[in-house]
């Protein structure tokens, strides 16, 4: 297994340690896995006024989780996190298509709600044919004004921990998962972030990770983990959350893909 940036790549190595002995199918899948992982940003872009970290771990060789950053200038960026239903090769192919559509369109000027509405229209036919759907959260952030605007397409609402305050805020907005209905409107909301705030985007592999008795990790435990590590840099917050998820589930291999993006406002 090799380390690239802050993320582990080449995941299938542990499962298929003897590369020459792999059959053709496994070799192809290992290649697909490597390519898919390389499409996710290793590290978030550097920006004034905010520190960020990200991580994605597929449950199988390939998966349907996706996150991305679109940095427009020194102080503004778009952040997207998404989860294609299922976690197999089909989900992975749609994840790659979603990334291409997002990158080609570059929603710099539009608002977050419009970005999701346009994506829903563009991806609808392919998602219908493949019988898949996508949950996606789209955020625009200016580190100069600290204004966050966001829209939600049925994705797990990110958790905001306000500096110096207990409890958390879930960032939700009205919308729907992409690929189910055409002509969906997505509400856009605004929020002013403050110095020391910790904002965590995640996929449901975290909160739906089960323990031996079938109980799920849930957003309350995620909050407790974030609260415990809130003083640490974003990379360590991610490590801390993943450690707690593994301890809770007692499993080495996760059942679902998990992804995390943590922002800490300076």
């Amino acid at each position: 297994m090799t380390k690239k940036g802050n993320r582990v790549v080449g995941r299938p190595d542990s499962r298929y340690p003897d590369i020459p002995a792999l059959d053709a199918y496994s070799r192809e899948m290992a290649t697909a896995s490597k390519i898919q992982q390389s499409l996710l940003p290793d590290v978030p872009p550097a920006m004034r006024g905010v520190r960020m970290a990200c991580r994605s771990i597929p449950a199988h060789v390939v998966g349907g989780d996706y996150y991305d950053f679109f940095r427009w200038d020194d102080s503004s960026l778009d952040l997207v996190i998404a989860d294609v239903s299922g976690h197999n090769l089909g989900s992975a192919l749609i994840m790659v298509e979603t990334r291409s559509v997002l990158r080609a369109h570059a929603f710099r000027s539009g608002n977050a709600g419009d970005a999701l509405a346009v994506l829903n229209e563009l991806l609808y036919d392919d998602l219908s044919r493949t019988e898949l759907f996508i949950s996606m959260f789209y955020a625009k952030f200016s580190s100069e004004t600290r204004l966050l605007t966001y829209a939600n397409g049925g994705h797990n609402p990110p958790l905001l921990l306000r500096c110096g305050q207990p409890g958390y805020v879930e960032l939700d907005a009205d919308g729907m998962v992409l690929g189910v209905l055409k002509g969906v409107e997505f509400e856009e909301k605004n929020l002013l972030l403050r110095e020391g705030d910790v904002l965590t985007f995640y996929t449901d592999g975290i909160t739906e990770s089960p323990n031996d008795s079938g109980e799920l990790f849930g957003s309350e435990r995620l909050y407790q983990a974030l609260y415990a590590y809130r003083g640490a840099p974003p990379e360590e917050i991610i490590e801390g959350v993943l450690k707690r998820v593994h301890e809770f589930s007692g499993q080495k291999t996760l059942r679902d893909d998990v992804s995390l993006v943590v922002l800490k406002i300076d």
Partner: protein
């Protein structure tokens, strides 16, 4: 995992008899719903009373059923949501797409009344 299918009074009832509806078993449900619509069923009710956990693959099977219902000019209703299932439908807003009933009995009363 077992699926019971009962047809009668204009509604085909599909009882999903398993605690989990996920990547391992959602394909069977998806095909079963499709088969019913292809076979001419107009009203299909999927009862999920035994399901304690649904994931995105499970939701995907029901979304596929919804699209088949539209394609065949039929209707797909759901009943018997437990907590985790209900919260997944609320999170994804798929609760706005489906007719959802508390129980099979309530669903049948509504669906047969609609006829």
């Amino acid at each position: 995992m077992k699926i019971e299918v009962t047809a009668g009074d204009g509604v085909s009832i599909l009882r999903y008899k398993s605690e989990r509806l996920d990547a391992h078993n959602s394909e069977v449900l998806k095909l079963k719903i499709k088969e019913l619509f292809e076979g001419g069923a107009k009203n299909v009710l999927v009862d999920l009373a035994e399901v304690r956990f649904i994931d995105s693959s499970g939701l995907g099977a029901l979304v596929s059923g919804f699209k088949n219902a539209v394609a065949y000019k039929g209707a797909l209703a759901l009943s018997g949501f437990q907590d985790q299932v209900r919260s997944m439908f609320e999170l994804t807003r798929l609760n706005r797409v489906f007719d959802i009933y508390v129980s099979e009995e309530e669903a049948l009363a509504a669906l047969t009344g609609k006829k």
